[in-house]
């Protein structure tokens, strides 16, 4: 079922932002941002804390509305009123800390908000057997094998939890998957697990928006890179146009980095010669 789609195919973009901005009162969190997401493509959004990454994806996922610019889905300008609206159009978001309800069993989490039922109304009830079977199959399709779908999802590791949330979004027909810093709180191994599922989602033809402040993680799976700085576009480039070094440099804010290095040189005990030339700020 996995149809390998390479970046650069001519399939029309699902989500397009042009000149999008958002103000919270008199705080201009985002201004003039362009972003395009096509099927089978991983589009990475990078930026330092406060750069506006979360604001950007909250607009796409229906939690906030943009206050300037245009947001198109399948070519049609939209304003999403709620996460449900976004879900109905095939845009699913996996939030770093909002992905799951920890004390609920894995299978209940998997179907939360889209439960399967059987029977007529007064007796309409959950189709538990079907839900467990489906959840198990979908998780296995994504390469996630759990021993016990009845265990509370909070007892899984962070990486596994994110992976279940990704599998869930894929199952419910997401065409665009948004991941907000899925690797930020994870160790090296767990991050690898999540990156693997991002690649798996791309293989299945989904468009992925991957938010991160780790250029190494972004470069491992990304087809397109957008770097935000203070709410505006710092860089927007396809994989072919940018290398990891350059990405890291933009991410860390080039000139500022040099200044920081200079400042650190004034502080006794910090050996700036040992610092890598451009990768400060990356893991």
């Amino acid at each position: 079922m996995a149809t390998k789609e390479t970046s650069g195919t001519t399939s029309p973009p699902i989500v397009e932002l042009s000149g999008v901005g958002k103000s919270y009162g008199n705080i201009r969190a985002l201004h003039g941002v362009d972003l395009t997401v096509s099927p089978g493509q991983v589009s990475c959004v990078l930026g330092d804390n406060g750069a506006g990454k979360s604001t950007l994806i909250k607009i796409i996922s229906g939690l906030h509305q943009h206050s300037e610019g245009e947001f198109r889905i399948d070519g049609e300008p939209v304003r999403l009123g709620s996460p449900r609206d976004a879900l109905d159009r095939g845009i699913a978001t996996v939030y770093q800390d909002l992905a799951t309800v920890p004390l609920m069993p894995v299978w209940r989490n998997f179907f939360l908000g889209s439960e399967l039922t059987r029977g007529r109304w007064p007796l309409r009830r959950l189709d538990i057997a079907l839900m467990k079977k489906t959840a198990d199959e979908e998780l296995r399709n994504m390469g996630i094998v759990l021993d016990d779908l009845e265990q509370p999802i909070g007892s899984l590791s962070g990486g596994q939890r994110q992976s279940v949330a990704i599998a869930r979004a894929v199952h419910f027909g997401a065409r665009v998957l948004i991941l907000d810093e899925p690797t930020a709180a994870l160790g090296v191994k767990q991050s690898g697990v999540v990156l693997k599922y991002i690649a798996a989602a791309r293989e299945r033809g989904l468009g992925v928006i991957f938010i991160t402040h780790n250029p190494h993680h972004a470069y491992m799976v990304g087809d397109h890179f957008t770097v935000l700085r203070l709410g505006t576009l710092e860089l927007s480039a396809a994989r072919a146009e940018v290398g990891l070094e350059e990405l890291t440099h933009h991410m860390a804010g080039g000139a500022e980095l040099a200044a920081l290095k200079h400042e650190l040189a004034q502080v006794r005990g910090v050996d700036t010669d040992e610092l890598p030339s451009a990768s400060l700020g990356a893991q």
Binding site: Y95, L98, S114, L126
Partner: protein, 358 residues
């Protein structure tokens, strides 16, 4: 549907198909540990201990009609404790639940007495009133984002004041006039407050209603979409919203369920005693909350069960009556209740640690 069937089907839900291969990161939980993960295990053990204790020290406790009295005591708390438990699983409290019972009874009594000669009119108006109080609590909560403790503390004080002031204004007294000679009284009494005989023992009908509501609550919690939403809005409201659970609807209807419970118990009191004392009910909201917590519901939401709450209320009934049968001064009751509450909370805490330990 009986409780045993409920319990059996709840146990069914636990037997997940075991995948043949594992990823080697999560060890299979043992059956014992899975059993411990049920919210009602701790309280069941506690209830057996309390039962054996009074069985040993109070000979009267061993008679069948004493058990009927214990069950009746338990049911008057237990019927309200069920919606209070659902609300707690959904992450909220209702401090107005205790006086809400009396407000509902007063409404039915005074509407019937002042405006019509048929008690059913009062009963229906009281239902609408109680559901509206619940909806008001829920609406205020979701619109203001204030904690339910504050919102329902406000409603609690307002209802308490209304109960006293309006009753005094209309009847000139602290209690309502008797409605026992009005049309429909006997019918309504049959529904809310009759005695039925089971195997030669006279049992209050509220005991049956309590078990019916408990079965219904269990079914709703474990077997319906709505039940899934209740766990989700209590466990993590923001996640629930993000995956499309109607959080506002769920919270408001949970408060309305408490309103329904208050109406039902209020009607029981009205038709059991013919009149209503306007100052009663204060403090009972804490007993409902205690029954739910003793029954294994997590105070912070997202976890608990209806069966556990039933056993929690049953323990409450055993202690109330057990003290009487053992010929002790009833003044000791609250001390017992407090010890039980702390003990149950500690046991539940320990069990949950065991169950979710990786």
């Amino acid at each position: 549907m009986t409780m045993t069937q409920q319990a059996a089907s709840a146990a069914d839900a636990q037997s997940a198909p075991v995948p043949p291969s594992t990823d080697g990161r999560t060890a299979q939980r043992s059956p014992a540990r899975r059993l411990l993960a049920r919210p009602e295990v701790g309280v069941a053990v506690g209830a057996i201990a309390v039962f054996l204790f009074f069985f040993a020290v109070a000979p009267t406790f061993r008679q069948a009609d004493s058990m009927a009295t214990v069950l009746y005591q338990a049911s008057t708390i237990g019927i309200m404790a069920l919606p209070v438990a659902l609300l707690m699983i959904g992450g909220e409290f209702d401090l107005s639940a205790g006086v809400g019972v009396v407000s509902s009874a007063l409404t039915a009594s005074m509407i019937s007495y002042q405006l019509t000669q048929d008690v059913w009119v009062g009963v229906v108006v009281a239902l609408v009133f109680s559901l509206a109080v619940g909806a008001f609590n829920g609406y205020l909560l979701v619109k203001t984002g204030l904690p339910s403790f504050l919102v329902t503390l406000g409603t609690f004080l307002m209802l308490q004041g209304l109960n006293l002031a309006v009753t005094k204004l209309i009847t000139g007294n602290v209690a309502t006039d008797s409605i026992s000679d009005m049309n429909g009284f006997n019918q309504a009494k049959a529904v809310f407050s009759s005695d039925i005989t089971i195997a030669g023992v006279s049992v209050k009908i509220t005991v049956l209603w309590w078990l019916v509501f408990a079965a219904l609550a269990t079914w709703v919690l474990l077997r319906t979409k709505y039940g899934n939403w209740v766990f989700a809005v209590g466990g993590n409201k923001e996640s629930a919203r993000a995956v499309g659970v109607p959080v506002t609807f769920t919270k408001i209807t949970l408060f309305m369920a408490v309103g329904f419970g208050a109406w039902f118990v209020g009607m029981h009191q009205l038709f059991a005693f013919d009149t209503v004392q306007s100052g009663e009910g204060v403090g009972n909201e804490l007993l409902y909350i205690a029954a739910a917590v003793i029954g294994g519901c997590l105070l912070t939401g997202g976890y608990g069960s209806a069966i556990g709450t039933v056993i929690g209320a049953f323990m409450f009934g055993m202690v109330t009556q057990g003290i009487v049968y053992a010929d002790w001064n009833p003044d000791w009751f609250k001390l017992f209740l407090g010890v039980m509450l702390l003990g149950a909370t500690l046991i539940n805490l320990w069990i949950r640690r065991q169950a979710t330990r990786k």
